[in-house]
């Protein structure tokens, strides 16, 4: 339910702040994250796991001049909250004094977005999720394949208070349906949809898309590894954005010299524009970050040119500028991250993207990608759940999966066309809105047996 189940999150945060101040904190920040998470999972066309969780995490950043201690608990009684403050204070007191001052953000007006939460998602029942699973399974049955996947309906209530006067509170919901349809010979197809409002997901369409793709993936042939032009479906493109965001778009990565990112540097084709925009209602909108700073739209790459990285309070202070509202819960040695990336749509239909391949590959999805060289963004991974050979602009048939070892920067530079349709997808770095891409060359370095 969108109405709070525990005491109001901000009220909890205020209580912890008072404990911290009583213990001598020169600054303090409290994050209260209340979660109602539900997930129904299916495999072999039946529900095999089905879970629900209620939890409230209270996180305190206790600052004593240039020393910081952090502690968290999921107990919300007053005794536990006092112990929380004592733990954080004890840690801070033992710390060596840091060379640089600790920067918590000051209060700034938050323009709350409308659409961060949907009652239907907050109130989704196990019967609702089970009905969706049955619908996906029915689509698989109709295609003679089996369905595997999950349906998530999550509610998160985030409250943030700090001793400088920041007060922020917001309910957020998230829903995601994903499915792999798989046939008896292992042929597979993937589909996914995500939304703030779970009733906006066209369950039957997701089931049909995966089942149809699995059916078209039967009897794959081998193609040799090598360089191929590719069309990457949005499910693959989201991995490009995630890796770029993880390895390069963070101000901390830039400050430490481990990022490719330099303002003004050309890294992509002129067709590539990526922003981080938490206010765009087509994405998964939120109003503030985990430091209580209002989210700001950040142009990451415009027409192929690096523009601006994302900052939290500490990296912004180092750079002598304002936070862009991309802080994560403290302590955070990893730095700020873009969690709401949006890639601009192009003009090409899916058919036009594929039609532009003289001889290339259509890739549905990547699997188990990992950086081989972080600064060059050389990544290796596999294709899965639908890889097809395209000749003379037409899909010839399915191919066995391939391993790629490819610089994602070179891939961005090689973008030849951008799809006009986009999908909201959950990568490992948040919710991204992404189109399909046609890329001039992609390096495949190995092959597997399916």
């Amino acid at each position: 339910m969108l109405s709070e189940r525990d005491p109001d999150g901000l009220e909890l945060a205020e209580r912890v702040l008072r404990h911290a101040e009583a213990l001598g904190a020169t600054q303090a920040e409290v994050l209260v994250d209340e979660a109602e998470s539900r997930l129904t999972r299916f495999a072999n066309s039946e529900i095999h796991q089905n879970v629900a969780e209620s939890n409230t995490m209270v996180n305190l950043r206790f600052v004593d001049e240039r020393r910081v201690g952090c502690a968290s608990t999921n107990r919300t009684d007053d005794e536990a909250l006092r112990r929380l403050a004592e733990s954080a204070a004890r840690i801070a007191r033992f710390m060596p004094e840091a060379d640089e001052a600790v920067h918590l953000p000051g209060p700034a007006p938050i323009a709350y977005v409308h659409g961060a939460a949907a009652p239907a998602t907050a109130d989704a029942t196990p019967e609702f999720r089970a009905a969706a699973a049955r619908e996906v399974i029915a689509a698989a049955d109709a295609a003679g394949v089996q369905a595997y996947g999950s349906f998530t309906t999550d509610l998160e209530r985030v409250a943030l208070a700090n001793s400088l006067g920041v007060r922020a509170q917001e309910a957020r919901t998230w829903s995601q349906l994903l499915t792999v349809a798989m046939g008896s010979a292992g042929e597979a197809g993937y589909a996914e949809a995500a939304a703030v409002d779970c009733t906006a997901i066209d369950v039957a369409a997701v089931g049909r898309e995966a089942a149809d793709k699995a059916r078209s993936a039967r009897a794959p042939v081998s193609v040799p590894p090598g360089d191929y032009p590719v069309v990457l479906e949005p499910y693959a493109v989201v991995d490009l954005l995630d890796m770029l965001g993880y390895l390069g778009f963070s101000a901390l990565a830039v400050q430490e010299g481990r990022s490719f990112f330099e303002p003004g540097k050309v890294i992509g084709s002129p067709l590539v524009t990526i922003v981080d925009d938490a206010e765009d209602l087509a994405g998964a909108p939120i109003s503030f970050d985990y430091e209580g700073t209002p989210k700001r739209r950040v142009p990451l790459v415009e027409a192929g040119v690096c523009r601006e990285a994302v900052y939290d309070a500490q990296t912004a202070a180092r750079a002598g500028r304002e936070s862009t509202g991309h802080g994560l819960p403290a302590p955070n040695p990893y730095g700020p991250f873009p969690l709401n990336m949006i890639m601009s749509a192009g003009t090409a239909s899916r058919e036009e993207l594929i039609g532009g391949l003289e001889r290339g590959l259509l890739v549905t999805r990547f699997h188990y990608t990992n950086p081989v060289h972080p600064k060059l963004v050389i990544v290796t991974g596999m294709t899965r759940d639908g890889t097809f050979l395209v000749e003379h602009g037409r899909i010839v048939g399915p191919v066995r999966n391939l391993r790629f070892t490819q610089s994602y920067l070179d891939a961005l530079a090689g973008v030849q066309a951008v799809g006009r349709e986009r999908r909201l997808l959950r990568g490992f770095l948040g919710a991204s809105l992404v189109p399909a891409l046609r890329i001039g060359a992609f390096t495949f370095t190995g092959a597997t047996e399916h």
Partner: protein, 478 residues
Amino acid sequence: MPELTDRALDTAVQRGATFADVRQTRRADESIAIKSGRVEGVTFGDSEGFGVRVLVDGAWGFAASNRLTAAEADRVAAEAVRIARASATALRHRVELDSRPPAHGTYRTPVVEDPFALSVERKVGDLLAADEAMRRVPGIGFTEVRYDAQREWKTYAANDGSLVEQEISHVGAVIEANAVQGDDIQRRSYPDSAAAGGYEWVRDLDLAGNGERVASQAMALLAAPQCPPMRTTVILHPSQLYMQVHESCGHPCELDRVFGTEASYAGTSFLTPDGLGTFRYGSELIDIVADATVPGGLGTFGWDDEGVAAQRVPLIEAGRHVGYLTSRETAPRIGAQSGGAMRADGWNRIPLIRMTNINLLPRPGMSFDDIVADTDEGLLLATNRSWSIDDRRLNFQFATEMGWQVKGGKIGQLYKNPTYTGITYEFWGSCDAVADERSYTLFGTPNCGKGEPGQIGHVGHGASGARFRDVQVGVGKW
């Protein structure tokens, strides 16, 4: 604790559960992160709650909460039953569990020096000393030191009368030096591992004593030539071999994955039951066990999270696939009893089949140094840097931090960005030497991801080093 677990079990059964179990868990964790001489974060976390798992009409339901009250025990148990009834509307096979006897007892990780009793000041001091040792090497770009300790107090109860209490303690640490020049960045770390035990494990690492070596090697990597592409002999140091075992043996031996229940996320497995006992996984030198009883492993415990006692289960014997990591639900499907591999990432997650300690057993005969000396031409690869494997666990590619040319039995030229790739059973089939126990090391992997919602598993791997012939190295364009 028994009051709450009894209450939840009673309510679940009254509501219609034919099987119910409850895990009440408290987890304390402490982490310290240091970056380039600056203490980036010290945090202490405390999380407690309970989860109720039920079978109703042959279908699973699970609910969990952080509120430890009788009323919440009733609510959560009722919710688990309701969820199971919803699961039953999309069920094709009723879940049947094996018939293990009720579990009773206690288990506690042996700890010499309690990491939670040591002052933060002391631990930070040790870690800062290691960081300083790395930064003394000229030219280093940035350094990182991380330390983690975790302790769980777990009560397991089931409606068959089982009641088990365990206290599990884990510690982990790594130092890391990064050399940066232009577009290049080279990392060298030590040991990036973890263990069951106390702070004595961290002390024995001698992090400060290894700081200068690690940083100097990072700088050497910057100046080293790129690893050339070729097919050659590869000698894997234990610091890489453990990850090879993890990805290409541990995961494919998870029987839930074999039966497709992870297909939509991490994938399935090439080790299908029709090959059990006959499939040639590797050369005759390969013996791999799943051993939850070995001291010091991240996969060591008294009972798994289904109340099944810790066991030592052969997975690969003389190169043949002979066993799986199993649960009470999956084991009967291959005519077996659970091997006790079900573990949950805290009170708010269901147990899944997880690796315990997946150990490649050392072979008497050649030491690791003997293997190097016995190699005319090849590459010695050490310390994992990245990993990737396909969704059936066949095509893998790993990168390591260090790669040295081996020529005439001697270690020579250092290469940067070394990678190697292959097909799992072909690669293990090409193994012609496994080192003896002198280099055998038990590593800890505290970041093994699995399941939806995501779970992070703590698993162990023993390895002594091994040699593989005709392997593709130097993958990609550089």
